[in-house]
């Protein structure tokens, strides 16, 4: 049933000289889902996306889109927002959007109409005839996003779409992504912001150091990992926290997250705490945050790197 996948990577590997940017990456994006590609800067997200888009050619492995020849599918069905934003600075906004539609087969009049309503929706009503270079960075990014979706693609591939937007516009973009999803569009986006991914994604793929760490349905993943984390708030002694069941303790909100070792029983911890004289305000078996899951699978180092804001570290090409 290869037709069920919008994107399928098969053992894809890309090397730059001695550096391996993506290492035997197997990855499927089922049709109709929102899928997040997560990982720290330099982990290989952009390289993977550029291979999906045919900008780079894998040294090994294969890429297929909608079960077919990626070149043809790409031109007809995909909308791509690259990480490095590029625009024709001298063009007028609506003209630029219309052009991007036109090269993907949207007639000019139709492109103009759609472009106009998108500009309205994104609060850029007055900018249709302004030159792209006269807009702010954030506005240019919106223009580019409109250009990405103007041909109503079946698959949206967005490389770090939220970086560079203020919180209000991040919410607007999230809303739009959900809209597309409701209409059946498949969305693959990369991010290093775990919270965003957690809110938006149905599927996540975590990569670290060029390798896939895990790739799963987010709900199933959280359910499977649920046993592992306990949120506690308490008064009194805390020496009971050093027990064999507890792998790590993290400060979270007003209390602590206890990350348990595999197979550990949280009941034991509660017993030990009570007998040590701790007075519990809260003892709560929580869904692990994506961040914690990532740490658990990729190690603390990778996770710390994942917290670094975009642009603070140069992404490898």
């Amino acid at each position: 049933m290869k037709g069920d996948f919008a994107v399928r990577l098969n053992g894809v590997t890309k090397r730059f000289g001695k550096h391996t940017a993506v290492d035997h990456f197997d990855f499927d994006v089922p049709r109709g889902v929102i899928c997040g590609l997560l990982g720290p800067n330099g982990s290989g997200k952009t390289t993977s996306i550029r291979m999906i888009m045919g900008i780079l050619h894998p040294d090994e492995g294969s890429v297929s889109l909608f079960g077919g020849d990626p070149d043809r599918m790409r031109r007809e069905k995909v909308g791509y927002l690259p990480e490095e934003r590029g625009v024709y600075k001298k063009m007028r906004c609506l003209e630029f959007i219309t052009f991007l539609g036109e090269i993907r087969g949207v007639p000019r009049s139709e492109g103009r109409k759609r472009g106009g309503s998108w500009l309205d929706r994104l609060g850029l009503e007055g900018s249709a005839d302004k030159k792209v270079e006269d807009l702010s960075k954030g506005m240019q990014q919106k223009i580019q996003f409109i250009g990405t979706v103007i041909h109503e693609p079946e698959l949206l591939i967005l490389d770090e779409p939220f970086s560079g937007l203020d919180p209000i516009n991040q919410d607007v973009l999230e809303e739009i992504v959900r809209d597309f999803h409701a209409r059946g569009t498949t969305i693959l986006f990369s991010t290093h912001l775990m919270d965003q991914a957690e809110r938006l994604c149905q599927r996540v793929c975590l990569i670290s150091n060029a390798r896939k760490v895990l790739d799963a349905d987010l709900k199933e993943l959280k359910a499977a990992e649920r046993r592992g984390v306990v949120a506690v708030e308490f008064e009194g002694p805390d020496d009971w926290l050093r027990g064999p069941e507890i792998e790590r303790v993290e400060v979270a909100g007003g209390g602590l997250h206890l990350i348990l070792r595999d197979g550990a029983d949280h009941q034991e911890i509660l017993k030990r705490g009570v007998s040590a004289g701790a007075r519990f305000l809260r003892f709560d078996l929580v869904e692990p945050r994506l961040h914690e899951i990532f740490v658990r699978h990729a190690g603390v180092d990778a996770a710390t790197a994942a917290g670094v804001p975009a642009g603070a570290m140069g992404e490898r090409p």
Partner: protein, 415 residues
Amino acid sequence: MWTNVRAVIRREYMQRVRSRWFIASTVMAPVFMIGLMVVPAYFAQQGDESERTLAVVDGTNVLYERLASKLEEAGYDVFEQRWHSDVVTELRQMAEDGAIGGFIMLDELTLETGEAILYATSRPNLIRQVTLRGAISRAALEFQLQQQDVDVDALLAGGELRIEMLAETVSGGDDPQFFVAYMGSFLLYMVILVYAISVMRATLEEKTSRIVEVIISSMEPWHLMLGKIVGVGAVSMTQMAIWLFVGGLAFVSGLPMLIAAQPELAELSTIRDALPGLGVTGLFVGFFVFGFLMYSGLYAAVGAMCNSDEEAQQAQFPVLLLLVIPIVMVVGVIENPSTPLSTGLSLFPLFTPILMWARVAGGGAPAAEVALSFVLMFLATLAIAWVAGRIYKVGILMAGKRPTLPELWRWIKEA
């Protein structure tokens, strides 16, 4: 497939035609040229009519008729004043009153040496001096020769050198027309260079701004390159059409105006005779089209393999050299259009636009060679498109350092 090429063509064309640079160079340049012709003419017309009225006192009694007809041709009003003892005083008075611009005294010495005296209220400009001097000495010369029973008119017309060509040639006229050949070659060089470089810059800009990643995900690199070249080419054709139209207008209407105002410049009208006919103009356009296609392909490849303006400046040098070599050799080729060297060089496709044009306009290119040169340019265009298309395809998405020659060779093989 072709809708996206059309979109790229339209974008390139509209962006450029609307730009200030295009409007300035297309409209302002001819306006400026016409201004150069018309404004001095206008000022000349403002000059006092009386300055053009001359009296002639002919002490020789034989020169007046000849001189008067020559001066009238040059736009003067001339009348003869019989010699009498007070003639100088009388004419001086007329000149001071502004009735005449001055008067010329001819005497026996004029017949022997061409010397004469011009009394004038203001110093005549150089063109007038030359015109008057020429008219006087020529009148004297003609008179002297006639005394010897020589057919003065035929001889002084400069004789005639009839040229019988032994092979059929394509040319603008019977005489080698250095001016048209050279200016045409130079114009070809300029326009090809300007527009081919503009293809390179556009490519480079797309690459450095990364917009190309979005474009390439929607269309084949080859289509993008094609659209770009055709779009820029269409702009160049628009510009040339406007220039030709305005230039033609200038010659048809501006030149007579100029000559009417400054009759000494009547010789300029011979430029019109030297201008190429429709057929040769057609060949010019043909040379331009192929020249542009070949060089813009090469320049597109250069743009695609570079990452910055500075890099491109260096990388374009070999291509620029290919365009400069023929312009350096063009004078030699115009002067010796039929030597084996000229023939060989003008058949090398990358040199053909400039050098074969020079031979055609200069009158020394057999039709068969011209036809062959077009076939060769056509084949070269295909070859360049193939090679440049491959370099473009790999280069346009390639960041990092500029490729070395072996790397370039690998791109061509693997693309």
